[in-house]
């Protein structure tokens, strides 16, 4: 057992740390999403030029071939320094790995480079209005027409669809097959009139995600990934990558939030001192710290296990569940500490911390929904980790 970094891992961390310190572009602009995306595209270009985009990808595909520990170190360090997200998060974390795992040589040659540079943004067309957690019930149809497919249907919760060139689209190609078998994974060109996106306004007032409508949209047969009828297996790879990539960045993000929460407690007058002297708040802050630490240590244990077995296990679901719980608790506690002022949001003269916690409180409501709901994660844990019988 050794919870320290090896000399070469330390060297890697120092390299990451120094590069980020020297190249950090500062905080994201407090402006509309268009400006933020332009900022993130610039940032991704710099990351790519320095070889930090797609660090988990094999070198032959333009990545860095980093070990899992190096990926964890990079994610933790980038978040610790509050580096901006790259513009093409979904392409880097899901699209690229799927093309590498299931794509043809032609597809690899065509798609990977623009994902890394951020030139082409990717989005994920999985969920539908009638198919959320029960993804395999999705209804969007793709019908073959010569060497093309004609796609009709609707996707929803499609993050950054308004900026995307490519959509990772799962559509039903065989309506007569059992529901998991009739699906195919396509790369759909979003730049055509038959594809329309409409932003959905979230409870925060922002619009990160969209509804996407396909009205006889065209996708060439060459854009099928992993073969016709294999869409479910390919989609699962995407989701596994999403979860594996999240953990270490997420932990650093919570550590940052917890540091801000401690600062808030120390600056908020309560009784004759500050909220940081209040035994109730102290207990809650301590418990949050303990939860973050157990999540971090669980992630290390999971990483050790994954390095031994080669594949991330379903235990990753524990981390995602825990992350959502902690993030929500943390923002709830911040509002409790702010007390009566906690109703004042961004734009109010007397809002505490510029209304940042009001935003975080609202945004974190989605944490137990996005990327697999906590309720579904508990099912996965019960069935695949504990071996309990399935209800269905």
């Amino acid at each position: 057992m050794d919870l320290t970094l090896s000399p070469s891992e330390e060297e890697f961390r120092d390299e990451v740390r120094t590069w980020l310190q020297e190249n950090h572009p500062g905080p994201e602009p407090e402006a509309g999403l268009d400006e933020v995306m332009a900022f993130r595209r610039d940032w991704q270009r710099r990351l790519h030029e320095a070889g930090w985009a797609g660090i988990s990808w094999p070198k032959e595909y333009g990545g860095r071939g980093a070990t899992m520990i190096e990926q964890a170190i990079f994610a933790a360090e980038a978040t610790r320094q509050e580096a901006p997200a790259p513009a093409n998060v979904l392409g880097l974390a899901m699209g690229g790995p799927v093309v590498i795992a299931h794509g043809s040589e032609e597809q690899k040659a065509r798609y990977l480079e623009p994902i890394l540079t951020g030139e082409e943004i990717w989005c994920q067309g999985f969920s539908e209005p009638e198919s959320g957690s029960d993804l395999a019930s999705l209804k969007t149809r793709a019908v073959r027409d010569g060497d093309e497919w004609v796609v009709t249907g609707q996707k929803v919760w499609t993050t950054f669809a308004q900026y995307a060139k490519w959509c990772m689209l799962v559509a039903r190609t065989d309506p007569d097959a059992p529901k998991h078998q009739g699906l195919t994974y396509f790369l759909m060109d979003m730049e055509q009139d038959a594809v329309q996106t409409r932003p959905l306004v979230q409870i925060t007032g922002e619009g990160e995600f969209n509804e996407v409508f396909f009205e006889e949209a065209r996708v060439p047969d060459a854009n099928v990934v992993g073969g016709v009828g294999n869409g479910w297996a390919v989609a699962i790879t995407t989701l596994m990558n999403e979860r594996a990539g999240l953990a270490f960045g997420a932990i650093s993000q919570i550590q940052n939030s917890l540091a801000r929460l401690s600062k808030l407690a120390k600056e908020t007058p309560a009784n004759s001192g500050t909220a940081a002297d209040d035994p109730y708040f102290r207990q809650r802050i301590a418990q949050l710290h303990i939860e973050v630490e157990t999540m971090r240590l669980n992630a290390y244990r999971g990483l050790t296990k994954t390095m031994q077995s080669g594949i991330p296990g379903p235990e990753g679901s524990l981390g995602k569940w825990q992350w959502a719980d902690i993030n929500q608790d943390l923002t709830e506690l911040a509002l409790e500490i702010e007390g009566a002022y906690s109703t004042l949001a961004r734009g109010s003269e007397h809002a505490v911390a510029g209304g940042a916690w009001q935003y975080s409180f609202l945004r974190s409501r989605a944490n137990s929904i996005e990327g697999g709901t906590t309720d579904i994660l508990k099912n996965i844990i019960a069935e695949r980790v504990l071996g309990l019988p399935r209800l269905r």
């Binding site: 939860e291 669980n298 290390y300 244990r301 019960a382 019988p389």
Partner: protein
């Protein structure tokens, strides 16, 4: 970076697992729990032969010289069977002798203790006084010829089977008092946990056999290791309660299905897994710190004990709910796990006490603070 047991530690784990599961079956635990002394002489002898009495004690004084991770491995397995054994109290006394004793005292007391021939238990908490970790009311009075102890210690573990007590006094010193010495009287208390006996011990004009030179802060690392061992034991309790629940939920049928197919039950089990795994991570993180990064031990041990204090009884509590009526019967074993977990939660500082230390560190912006 490698967060898993070594091959040697895996071997300790499987030896301990096999031995303890064979030795402490339900019927045997019930016999010991119902017995007069609560002490299992033959089980102790076998543990001593396996070298467990001195597992984490120095080799030069008869111990195995292994680390806190190994100790945690052993105590997790002890918890897994809810073993009735003085191993914990004995280990704590051994660590204290190693930390604060003179060479002569180590030869006289630590060596036989590490070899399993003598048993000791700490006598820390003063009856009738508020419990404050590290502070003691009993005075070490001097009559010119040496120290004399007067007062009553309570919540003393395994007193009936102890050959000597390690008695803490207000000057921060620890004194060795043989259990058969004049002026010493032991009265058993009724603990909620029948598998770990608690007693009160009166000292009336008792002259200790020896007084350890070490004092006060010398015993902090001992306390922190004891917290890790106890937290490991609670993790084992939780693991067993989880396994019992999962097995039952697969087997028990209601409304034509195994109850584990219902999300009210399966999600409860998932929660139990989360708490058990968190507890285990916190425990081994702290155990590793004890061996390899002592400056981060105070915070790590506080986190482990705080978390495992809660999980150690909440998981068995949830297990009782999964089992329904049968889980509430004396006949089912779960109550032993709940009771031990609840007793562990209150021992060596409860979750609230440890969280207060964590809050100190977090709010001071320290990642690895030394506890004053």
């Amino acid at each position: 970076m490698y967060f898993d047991l070594t091959d040697e530690q895996q071997a300790i784990k499987s030896t301990a697992h096999d031995f303890l599961n064979a030795r402490f079956k339900s019927e045997r635990i019930r016999e010991i729990a119902a017995s007069e002394s609560g002490f299992d002489e033959s089980g102790w002898k076998e543990m001593a032969e396996l070298g467990w009495a001195g597992l984490a004690l120095p080799e030069e004084w008869g111990g195995q010289g292994l680390g806190t991770v190994d100790l945690a491995v052993l105590f997790e397995e002890m918890g897994y069977v809810c073993a009735p054994s003085p191993l914990l109290s004995n280990t704590v006394v051994g660590l204290a002798l190693a930390a604060g004793g003179s060479d002569e005292q180590k030869e006289r007391w630590l060596r036989p203790l590490a070899e399993g021939e003598l048993r000791g238990t700490p006598a820390l908490i003063d009856a009738g006084h508020p419990v404050e970790i590290g502070r003691f009311a009993m005075a070490a009075e001097s009559d010119g010829e040496g120290f004399v102890l007067n007062g009553e210690k309570t919540l003393v573990m395994d007193a009936a089977s102890a050959d000597f007590f390690l008695v803490a006094t207000s000057d921060g010193h620890r004194h060795i008092v043989e259990s058969g010495a004049g002026g010493v009287s032991v009265s058993p208390e009724e603990s909620i946990d029948p598998t770990r006996r608690l007693s009160s011990v009166r000292f009336e004009g008792v002259r200790p056999e020896a007084t350890l030179p070490g004092a006060g802060e010398d015993y902090i690392p001992v306390f922190l290791r004891a917290c890790v061992a106890l937290a490991a034991e609670s993790t084992g309790l939780a693991q067993r309660a989880l396994e019992m629940s999962v097995a039952y939920a697969k087997d028990r049928q209601q409304f034509g299905r195994p109850i584990g197919a219902y999300q009210a039950v399966s999600h409860r089990c998932a929660q139990m897994l989360l708490e058990t795994e968190n507890s285990r991570s916190a425990v081994y993180g702290a155990a590793w710190a004890a061996d390899a990064e002592p400056e981060s031990l105070p915070l790590a041990a506080a986190m482990a004990k705080a978390y495992a204090s809660d999980a150690g009884w909440r998981v068995p509590d949830a297990a009782i709910q999964v089992h329904g009526g049968i889980g509430f019967t004396w006949e089912h074993d779960l109550h032993f796990f709940l009771k031990r977990g609840r007793a562990n939660a209150a021992s060596l500082g409860d979750a609230k006490w440890h969280r207060e230390h964590v809050a100190d560190a977090v709010l001071a912006g320290e990642t690895a603070p030394a506890r004053s």
